[in-house]
């Protein structure tokens, strides 16, 4: 007999997992969708977001505003997003170079960048895992039946929801959003119609970086960040993208949700199979529905 509280906690875990994975996967899909670049560097942007919060953001907030909850919730992730946007700007010329080049060039350049980022983290923040769980602890927990659930994670879920909404507005209701979507359908046609494609590409890369940085910034207080995290996240992010559909906005959400559900179910029933199962599902999807479960639509 499963109690109500248990069900609620599990659903809530699934949403938390979905939110975090979505914030990684959506940027990966944006860049693939528009530039046809499989960006192996992307998880490093998420990790950079984590490091920025732990090593810089929280410190700044506490020294300027003291240890109070609201600024700690809002400001560090924004600082993280800003830093990651700057980092994206620095590597942007490489993305221009890569667009239109072969898959192998893209894979190698972005993989090389991933390695460089990992060592830059080490150079700046050292080798030990970093944490900054002040916000997580101060936010406290909520009682659900016999269970407690951390309020901070609810904040992450809500933030992700708001971001989805804003992103949707940006992509569907603004001019640049229309250009981004148009470029993802046919970049040459978009250019022929007089759009500044380079600007579109820049916005795409910065937007992906912004989301990854914000995602990392939001995630960090509930966990910790360590060297090698980008490499661990990379394959997981790809599984999400493959399940949802490569380059699909909706797919990012579907993929994140399915991976989170799978993780919860395997840990409940057969914890030893956790790793294998998500890859097997990815293979099945590639075999039978290579366009992914996101409906195969780009947007």
């Amino acid at each position: 007999m499963i109690e109500l509280g248990e069900v609620v906690v599990r659903i809530y875990n699934i949403f938390f997992g979905t939110s975090v994975l979505f914030l990684i996967a959506v940027g990966l899909n944006l860049i693939y969708g528009v530039m046809r670049i499989v960006n192996l560097t992307h998880p490093a942007f998420f990790t950079l977001g984590c490091y920025t919060v732990a090593g810089l953001g929280v410190g700044i907030v506490i020294s300027l505003l003291g240890t109070s909850l609201t600024p700690l919730l809002i400001i560090p992730p924004l600082i993280a997003a800003l830093i990651v946007v700057i980092a994206s700007l620095i590597v942007f010329p490489l993305f221009i170079y890569m667009s239109g080049k072969g898959d192998e060039v893209q894979l190698l350049v972005t993989y090389g960048l991933l390695l460089i980022f990992e060592d830059v983290f080490r150079l700046i923040w050292g080798v030990e895992p970093l944490r900054a769980s002040q916000a997580y602890e101060m936010a406290g927990s909520l009682i659900v039946g016999e269970y407690l659930i951390p309020v901070y994670n609810i904040y992450v879920i809500l933030s992700a929801l708001i971001l989805v909404l804003l992103l949707w507005l940006l992509l569907f209701k603004t001019k640049i959003g229309i250009l981004i979507r148009a470029s993802s359908m046919d970049i040459e046609m978009t250019a022929a119609l007089g759009a500044d494609v380079k600007k579109v590409l820049l916005v795409t890369v910065l937007l992906a970086g912004f989301l990854a940085g914000l995602g990392g910034g939001l995630y960090l207080p509930s966990a910790s960040v360590m060297l090698g995290m980008s490499v661990e996240l990379l394959v997981l992010a790809f599984v999400v993208v493959v399940i949802g559909g490569l380059g699909s906005f909706l797919g990012s959400f579907v993929g994140s949700f399915i991976v989170s559900v799978l993780r919860t179910i395997t840990l409940m029933l057969f914890p030893e199979l956790e790793l294998a199962l998500i890859y097997i599902v990815a293979i099945l999807i590639l075999t039978f529905k290579p366009e992914g479960l996101g409906g195969g639509r780009k947007w």
Binding site: E104, V105, L108, G112, L115, I116, D119, L275, A276, I283
Partner: protein, 332 residues
Amino acid sequence: MVERLKKAFGDDLRSNFILLAIIAVIYPAIYAISPGWGIVLGHGITWIIALLGFNLLFGYTGLLSFGHALFLGIGAYTAGFMYKYLGINSIELHILGSILSSAVVALAIGLVVVRYTRIFFAIFMLAIAQVFWSLYYKFYWITGGTDGIKMARFSILGISLEHLDFTTYHHIYFYFTTFLTTILIYLMWRIVNSPFGLTLKAIRDNEVRAKFIGIDIYKMRLYAFIISAIYAGITGALVANHHRLVTPDIAYWTTSGKVVFATLLGGTRIFIGPLIGSFIFHVIESFAMRFIYWQLIMGAFIIAIVILMPGGIAQILRTFVESIRHSGRIGG
């Protein structure tokens, strides 16, 4: 340009053998000066085989596998299991076993994956390789999990090498592998210059036209996939015996990344590419590993090579050698 590329596919066999001979001659001296670098050369010679296989798939067939660690893993675990459960430490049998197992696995997987190309093929291979990795990782009772399988020294032609000192043992490993690599280079040369090899190139260059002239693209790709897997499997078995330790690391995606990078470093559309790529890669890796920030060095190398010499080092060397020859001829 076309003429030169065409030449590059075929007539490289002799330069391969010359380079191998040079390395085989200088190896003892290098080992005597620095055993560490001697062992690095051992890695280099071992990896040539897998890179040859990878290059058949990528350079000649146009399929970029981002999961070649799968077959290195199959080869290594075949050797590991043969030792652990059957008590076999004959390196010849390990190699035969890994040829069989990687061919069987490649056939089963290939039936599905060679339907895909480009990024889908790459990711598909990545996902399958990761499944195998997670099985090695999780089936602790069978595979030893991350602790892996420890192996005794191999025996060769039925002769045990347990009593030897490490240096002699490593020399035997090195020359055995050099011998094997020489044979496999020759075989690969025959393969890429056979009608089959030319068909693969035709498919790579223009799939539609190949289909139009009646080539069974699917079957050809499947064959290339299986041969490629066997080559990687052999390297896997050799790596297992070189390290005398098999862990899931060899099947992890970072190993796949190594295969891709080393091959590209050497040059993919050139027969001697894998040989040069393997040595240069291991030298760069060992060199970089001596620094704390070796990933940074490695990453910068990768990007610089891709941008500055997209044809790979072998291509640059070739152009260089030919220009010397050319100018020499004019001068004479």
